[in-house]
Amino acid sequence: MTPIKHEQEALREILRLAYLEKEKVEVGDRWQEEVMRRIRELGEIEERPSSLVMLQQIVWRLAPLTCLLILGLTVLLSSSDFISGDDVIQLLVNGTEELTLNQFFEL
């Protein structure tokens, strides 16, 4: 072991002993009564559902709203003059109408 390592080990041992000495400090014996007072004040424990169960509840609560939103967006898209990306690509690739990007975007 190098002298530095040796010194560090000695230091560790000294600090460890000092640290473990803390255990011997005497404390009062009234704190337990205070714990029970605080616990009685809190009353019976309410069993809270786990976070997974809570998440499931939120998801199912939001499900009807999500369905309505999807339905609304579908109606909106079908009633507007919507052209899908696939259609544009088809037109550009096949080029039957010789449509350019400029024409498509009406530039």
């Binding site: 002993l17 803390k22 400090v25 404390v27 337990q32």
Partner: protein, 201 residues
């Protein structure tokens, strides 16, 4: 009472408390107060020990529904105790004033002598743990709550990285890195302290 009987008795008391018998918790308190106190005393300043020990039991009471009967209650309570101590330091760190006090020449001389003898036996004989405690507190006060907890658990108490990770609820990689860094910081702090004292002298 052997460990298994203790575990089943604990599980039974937990069941009673969760079912609404609040007073049954006192039996758990009496059974584990010494164990919790032993942990808290080592991590928390003397004047805050009782307050933190109370917080540990209140927190344990509130978390009882999460206690699974097949776990060992003592181990579960140790985890809560360590995490409560860590939370104490996090709060303390947020509102603390930057420590400006330094150690005296007496500490420097003591430290040099103590490391030179390289013997824990002579350390006991010299009956000067007070200086060691002051040096330790001085150094720990300059570390972050994370470094402090890891250093205390791994370096000073000798827990394995895995055990410390379980107690703190961190990954083993995080504990390993923190352990290495905090040890380096501690040695640096003590070295700097020695140099400062030497320059002043």
């Amino acid at each position: 009472m052997d460990t298994d009987s203790y575990s089943s008795a604990d599980a039974e008391i937990v069941h009673q408390v969760v079912s609404g018998d609040v007073n049954a918790f006192e039996r758990l308190l009496k059974r584990y107060e010494a164990h919790v106190m032993r942990i808290v005393k080592k991590h928390i300043p003397f004047d805050k020990v009782e307050e933190v020990a109370q917080d540990v039991f209140v927190r344990a009471y509130q978390s009882l529904p999460n206690f699974k009967g097949d776990d060992r209650f003592k181990q579960w309570l140790s985890t809560i105790t360590i995490r409560t101590c860590y939370d104490f330091w996090r709060k303390h760190y947020r509102y603390r004033e930057i420590p400006v006090s330094s150690l005296s020449e007496k500490h420097q001389v003591w430290l040099e002598e103590a490391t030179a003898t390289r013997s824990s036996q002579s350390f006991d004989e010299r009956d000067s743990q007070k200086e060691a405690r002051e040096i330790l507190d001085w150094a720990l006060d300059r570390l972050s709550p994370e470094d402090r907890m890891v250093l205390e658990l791994v370096y000073l108490e000798g827990y394995s990285v895995k055990e410390a990770a379980n107690l703190l609820g961190w990954s083993t990689a995080k504990v390993k890195v923190r352990s290495f860094r905090s040890r380096k910081k501690l040695h640096k702090l003590i070295k700097e302290m020695s140099l400062t004292q030497r320059d002043e002298g």
